[in-house]
């Protein structure tokens, strides 16, 4: 489940996963692991497809469902949409 805290950490590394692996603090690594990181990247990519008009209606619905299933709040979904 993605939370605003995960997004905050992701943004603090400017989406650089290697930077996160290299320099994340123990506290950050306790909150965020690779599954969170890759899920955020995947969701951002999906939202980007929608923003660029490249996704079908059916796929857009699938993405909305994925966002609801994997994010803890509307604020988190909004934060993801803002990053895409």
């Amino acid at each position: 489940m993605i939370t605003l805290k995960h997004i905050e950490i992701y943004k603090s590394y400017n989406g650089d996963g290697d930077g996160f692996v290299r320099c994340a603090t123990p506290e950050e690594k306790a909150i965020m692991d690779y599954k969170h990181w890759s899920l955020i990247e995947s969701l951002i990519q999906d939202i980007s497809l929608v923003k660029k008009g490249l996704a079908s209606e059916t796929y857009m619905k699938t993405i909305d469902e994925r966002l609801k299933e994997n994010c803890d709040s509307k604020e988190t979904i909004r934060a993801l949409r803002d990053m895409a």
């Binding site: 989406g15 650089d16 996963g17 930077g19 692996v21 690779y34 990181w37």
Partner: protein
């Protein structure tokens, strides 16, 4: 690597504005950390191992293990990498990132012969240091790259 060379290597990746801030610390850390080892000698040009995991720690771990087992080195295993890790503790990624990018650039520029790169089987980011900095340098310099994927 001499102490002076180690200090120079670190200084070259720290922005001018940061030099004064870390200089007093750098002398002490470099003094303690710089040791010329066989592995580092192997890393002078060849024997370099790169990695890009897109957030997957297993990739870095695999690269480190491979390097250790084969007398090679990753950037983080070099004295410069260790020193930069120590010197930038507590800094934000916005501050650390450019320093690591400059060190990665030097690491790639100094490579020759054959290098190894470990990558996440799930894909890597084209904007990663590997994709944006290290790979173009290695390719331009005609370095042979052996790829390894980590699930």
């Amino acid at each position: 690597m001499s102490h002076a060379e180690g200090a120079l290597e670190i200084a070259s990746v720290i922005p001018i504005g940061k030099v004064a801030r870390v200089a007093s610390v750098a002398g002490e850390v470099v003094e303690k950390a710089i040791v010329n080892t066989t592995k580092e000698a192997a890393a002078k040009g060849g024997g370099r191992v790169f990695w890009s995991g897109g957030g997957n720690e297993a990739v870095e771990a695999a690269a480190r293990k491979f390097a250790t087992n084969n007398g090679m080195t990753t950037l983080e295993m070099t004295n410069a990498g260790k020193n930069l890790t120590n010197l930038t503790q507590g800094m934000s990624w916005a501050e650390k990132g450019p320093m690591w990018q400059r060190l990665s650039t030097q690491f790639a520029k100094g490579a020759n012969g054959t290098v190894h790169v470990f990558q996440n089987a799930g894909g890597i980011n084209i904007k990663s240091v590997w994709g944006a900095i290290e790979y173009p340098i290695l390719k331009q310099n005609g370095v042979n790259i052996i790829y390894h994927t980590v699930p």
